[in-house]
């Protein structure tokens, strides 16, 4: 079992105990008003989003095992960190994900089939972040930590435009960037901290510490709790129980509003766990113990939130309805995946450049002539 105790703050912000009891700890006090503003409808929407993404994620993993996807990147176990933080954003905010933030993308409005298309090998992107329907959710970035700098640059742009700090939270903009415990070792993440602190950008660094960078434990990445890295750069930082959706929501909301108001960047470290593999190419039984996995399964974010909602009076009919909807969503994902067609060859040559480029044009023309010359020959 990995020794993670020294990586935990005295009191990571927590509202819900693992059994679903509402028991805010001392760290949660200042965030309580943000939880109080959530009514039953809002809470139930959060639960639904978590359950939907869980079902989608499990089905996508199955599709990969059946040869329908080149790869799958499971989000199983991280739903509270993702849905809570995503629900804390405002429509005008911009989100820079790494590549596991399926729940954030869904909350922001992207069609998750776009993620399927990427991992089926049909595109390197999948959606247009400029399309208002996509909730300013930027593309997945596979080089670990690279997106932290893009997010910071974007936030610098917000600052240069004067689009924050006016005191109008309905219009002031902010940026959220997602990254993991492994990414904290990348130079780009440190450089993003430097630039963000230097320019006092309106952004929240949302660190999902799921304890494993493929097979390497977080103890190999850091000898200090990761949230304290932010403090070293002059960025106010806080550690939360990332499997508590209320903590994720409230802490992100408060920090994001402080950032958008001109308070500078913030870091939120969400302690969570990757229940599944890093990707479907990985075998976590080679590096993790059953005991460790079981200890985190016992802290499952969806079961915890379900117990809480039941305590608040949510009826079986609600949970049954969500379960049925999630099952349909998974089935629909399967049906739509099997119907996807391969892209045409010109996809390779399109959009390498925005302006005309003679080399790609010439090679595309050549490929056309070559393929034409094969017609009537052996079937390809």
């Amino acid at each position: 079992m990995t020794d993670v105790t020294r990586m935990v703050a005295d009191s990571p912000v927590q509202f819900l105990a693992p059994d679903g009891t509402f028991a805010p700890n001392v760290g949660a006090e200042e965030y309580a008003p943000f939880v109080e503003r959530l009514d039953d409808a809002a809470l139930q929407r959060m639960f639904r989003d978590m359950a939907m993404v869980r079902a989608f994620d499990v089905e996508a993993g199955n599709l990969q095992r059946q040869g329908q996807l080149a790869l799958w990147v499971p989000s199983h176990g991280q739903e509270a960190a993702q849905v809570g933080s995503a629900c804390a954003m405002r429509p005008q905010d911009h989100i820079f994900p790494s590549y596991r933030e399926h729940a954030v993308g869904m909350v922001r409005g992207i069609d998750l089939m776009n993620v399927i298309r990427m991992l089926r090998g049909l595109t390197h992107g999948g959606w247009d972040p400029k399309d208002p329907r996509n909730g300013n959710f930027h593309l997945y970035t596979l080089v670990i930590g690279s997106q932290a700098l893009h997010a910071t640059g974007y936030a610098m742009g917000i600052q240069f435009d004067g689009a924050f700090g006016t005191g109008d939270p309905e219009n002031d903009q902010a940026v959220v960037v997602y990254f993991g415990d492994g990414a904290t070792s990348q130079g780009d993440v440190s450089e993003a901290f430097v630039f963000a602190a230097s320019y006092q950008t309106p952004q929240v660094f949302f660190l999902q510490n799921n304890h494993w960078a493929i097979s390497v434990p977080v103890s190999r990445q850091s000898r200090t709790p990761l949230y304290r890295r932010g403090e070293g750069f002059g960025i106010p930082s806080v550690q939360i129980d990332g499997n508590d959706v209320l903590a994720s929501y409230a802490v992100t909301a408060k920090n994001l509003d402080e950032a958008r108001a001109g308070g500078g960047p913030r870091l939120v470290e969400a302690l969570t766990y990757r229940i599944g593999a890093h990707t479907t190419s990985d075998d976590p039984t080679k590096y993790r113990t059953d005991d460790e996995l079981a200890s985190w399964v016992a802290r499952d974010p969806i079961a915890r939130f379900q117990a809480y909602l039941r305590g608040r009076g949510a009826a079986d009919a609600f949970f049954d309805g969500v379960a049925a909807e999630a099952k349909d969503f998974a089935a629909d994902t399967r049906r739509r995946t099997l119907a996807l067609e391969s892209p045409p060859a010109e996809l390779m040559f399109e959009n390498v450049y925005t302006d005309e480029h003679p080399l790609t044009a010439e090679q595309f023309e050549w490929l056309g002539r070559y393929e034409e010359s094969l017609e009537g020959g052996d079937a390809r």
Partner: protein, 338 residues
């Protein structure tokens, strides 16, 4: 306009003499005046005006939000420029010296070069990365290199290099106006050489190569500072009765082959010169392509005159490393021996 013989030249109000560093400064200022989304970012480029003073005075004119003295981190400069471009800005990044581009290499090659493709054309990335490059300045390690082949090899990037103040003035503006990432290699040994800049019009479009001295026996080709070495060699050759045609490549990626092939079809011989090490270089690519496309016109193999395949040497040896007019003429003799 004044008439000089049969050649029309611009009036003095349009024709100004200035060194390349000033021409770049004027070009940057013109681009910033034309489009408020253009901003400059880099190390020491604001208050100091850059270690080569290329951005001198621009911070005073345009303010600290358009001329950014960034933290000392090349990946950070390029990575945040990408975010700024997503926001609608047109960043121009200065990398202080050629050999310091490598901390930013990841963001340039894995992100900047691929982002238009990843976005399936939905987002353009009009970012210029200025790189003072090349030798002849007697500097320490990492300060005299020619890394352009790494970038020419990467799809999604454009790479250009001016050889004169006039081209520098216009090409920097054209690079900023381009909707793709442009690597802008500035021959730093030419920063202080004066030349005429016609403020009325560029000579040719950004991605054009150009014959800068006509000749009939051998075509010699280069970009950046090496063009001046070729012109010197052409003078020496002429005194021995050998006529060299000099082509200024200007654009490293894409390469404009039409003027090169036309010249080779006339002379039948081509020598490609570069400061960069020759192994897997821009010169290698040109040699291969010319051999493919002008095989029956060639009277001799295409020859390369390059830096040696060693790390750029300590400054006291740079004269041995860098091709000079004599090394060009030695290659001319070899080409003519076929």
């Amino acid at each position: 306009m004044t008439e000089v013989g049969t050649v029309t030249t611009p009036t003095t109000s349009e024709l100004q003499t200035m060194p390349m560093a000033k021409a770049l400064n004027a070009g940057l200022a013109a681009a910033m005046a034309a489009d408020e989304r253009v901003l400059l970012m880099g190390e020491d480029i604001g208050t100091l005006g850059g270690v080569f003073r290329v951005t001198e005075g621009l911070k005073n004119t345009y303010g600290e939000h358009r001329v950014l003295d960034t933290p000392l981190a090349e990946s950070g400069i390029v990575g945040t420029a990408i975010g700024l471009a997503m926001r609608g800005y047109r960043p121009v990044c200065e990398i202080q010296f050629d050999g310091f581009i490598f901390p930013g290499f990841d963001q340039i090659t894995t992100q900047l070069a691929k982002l238009t493709n990843r976005h399936e054309g939905a987002q353009a990335f009009p970012i210029v990365i200025r790189v003072p490059y090349g030798g002849h300045i007697g500097a320490v390690e990492h300060h005299q290199e020619s890394p352009e082949a790494y970038f020419a090899h990467t799809a999604g990037l454009r790479s250009v290099s001016p050889s004169t103040p006039h081209d520098a003035y216009w090409m920097i503006q054209e690079a900023i106006a381009a909707n793709d990432p442009v690597m802008f290699f500035e021959p730093k040994s030419r920063y202080w050489q004066k030349g005429a800049v016609d403020l009325a019009a560029p000579a040719v479009p950004l991605h054009s190569s150009r014959v800068v001295r006509t000749g009939s026996d051998v075509t010699v080709l280069a970009h950046g500072a090496m063009v001046s070495v070729l012109l010197q060699a052409a003078e020496l050759a002429a005194s021995e009765g050998i006529s060299l045609e000099v082509v200024d490549l200007r654009s490293i990626a894409p390469i404009d082959y039409a003027p090169i092939l036309e010249s080779v079809r006339k002379t039948g011989r081509l020598i490609v010169a570069q400061e960069a090490p020759g192994n897997v270089s821009v010169g290698s690519e040109i040699a291969a392509t010319v051999a493919e496309r002008a095989f029956y016109s060639l009277e001799a193999p295409v020859l390369r005159v390059s830096g040696f395949d060693v790390p750029f040497p300590p400054a006291k040896l740079e004269g041995v490393f860098l091709p000079d007019a004599d090394r060009i003429l030695e290659a001319v003799d070899r080409a003519l021996a076929y």
